[in-house]
Symmetry: C2
DNA sequence: TAGCGATGTATCGGGCCGATACATCGGGGT
DNA sequence: ACCCCGATGTATCGGCCCGATACATCGCTA
């Protein structure tokens, strides 16, 4: 999962570890609060060994105050890495239905085709529905056996499931009708006719302010 | 965390691994969907080696159809185990503020004193508030840099945080006024005057139907 | 010039997961 | 009578990821 995230971020611009972690927080907010360095650096090495990323010669992050070179290592994605990234997105199976996997994939939805998006969204919904049913069954079958706190915990969980299913449902219908997720400031797209292109792509990247 | 959960469950009745896992699902619903056997069995051994649990001689789960003995191993908690469990509940620190830890501790709140409950609840609230602020900042600072899907993900996350804070707030005020969590069927307690005893204890355990 | 907080890379031990293997029990089909 | 199958049950292995920790440098302020 982390591999996918790193590959995805490096697709937009080269970065070093520290920066990567920050971007991860920005992109994956809830679903993966913060990636530990104890995972990040070994993973970077793994990706490098595999040939998906390489150390970048020039350090593009030499911005405003930064002048001297320190021990930083800036990585950039390779052609094989891009290939790999695309594969991972397209192959997306059941791992993408659990919390962590879903979050990462969803964050890169704008780089996926509609069919894949729908597959993931529906799988995720299915998964949450199962969890919801499980909770309902527990509450109705074992309810009187549980203490007040446990009951409260389950009820809160059930509520969260119901909300998430509704959220997913909305996303799915939007997706089917060819719309990007409804942005309150509404940058609704004109229902792209090809029906397979990512609905909104971020500005590719511009230098940090 | 798993250790605490196992100790907590065995406190109520002896069990074997398979059964333990089911109870775990029942008690921890959302926060720890299912415990993998690959974790459970090694942990049981660890607990046994440490002396917190022992293999039970008589197999109390020889109920209705079950007659012959199979390879099952029924564990029961030891005196040291009970001590350890109480310690872990009382010492509860920051680990109990993240998702997994909080769920497990909350599920055993009825075995904790009020001071500990409040400490955990408030720590958890703090944690979620921080997460919430992080998301708000991302949305306001980096919002226009992100694509529609990522934005939607963050908004959904923010919403979940806000709900959870409200939920925790309610629990905290209830706790301060000496009430158990409000049960719709309302088994509200009469605001226990000692103020330190668990508000609702589950029926200790009765044979499965 | 000394200290401090942010930046930055790296390792280690340990918890937990998913896949897998293997064995037994009870019930249903043929 | 036979056999297969799904639920029950225990166990191991490789691998991801986390938290703690260590160490070094930069730029600012006292």
């Amino acid at each position: 999962m982390l591999e996918l995230a790193i590959l995805g971020l490096l697709q937009e611009t080269p970065m070093h570890g520290y920066e990567l972690r920050k971007e991860l927080v920005t992109k994956l907010g809830t679903f993966r609060a913060a990636i530990s360095y104890g995972t990040l650096y070994p993973t970077l090495k793994r990706l490098q060994t595999a040939g998906w990323i390489t150390e970048s010669e020039s350090d593009p992050s030499m911005i405003p105050p930064m002048t001297s070179k320190r021990g930083r290592v800036v990585y950039k994605i390779t052609a094989e890495g891009k290939e790999r990234f695309a594969d991972m997105l397209a192959q997306a199976g059941p791992e993408t239905y659990d919390d962590a996997g879903f979050g990462v994939h969803f964050a890169f939805f704008s780089r996926t085709d509609r069919a894949t998006r729908l597959r993931i969204l529906e799988g995720r919904r299915r998964r949450i529905e199962e969890r919801r049913e499980g909770l309902r069954e527990v509450l109705s079958r074992a309810g009187e056996r549980l203490d007040a706190y446990t009951l409260e915990l389950q009820r809160h969980g059930l509520d969260a499931c119901e909300r998430e299913v509704r959220w997913l449902e909305e996303l799915i219908t939007n997706e089917r009708s060819g719309r990007a997720p409804a942005t309150p400031g509404s940058l609704d797209l004109p229902a792209d006719p090809a029906g397979d292109a990512p609905p909104v792509s971020p500005r590719p990247h511009e230098d940090r302010p």
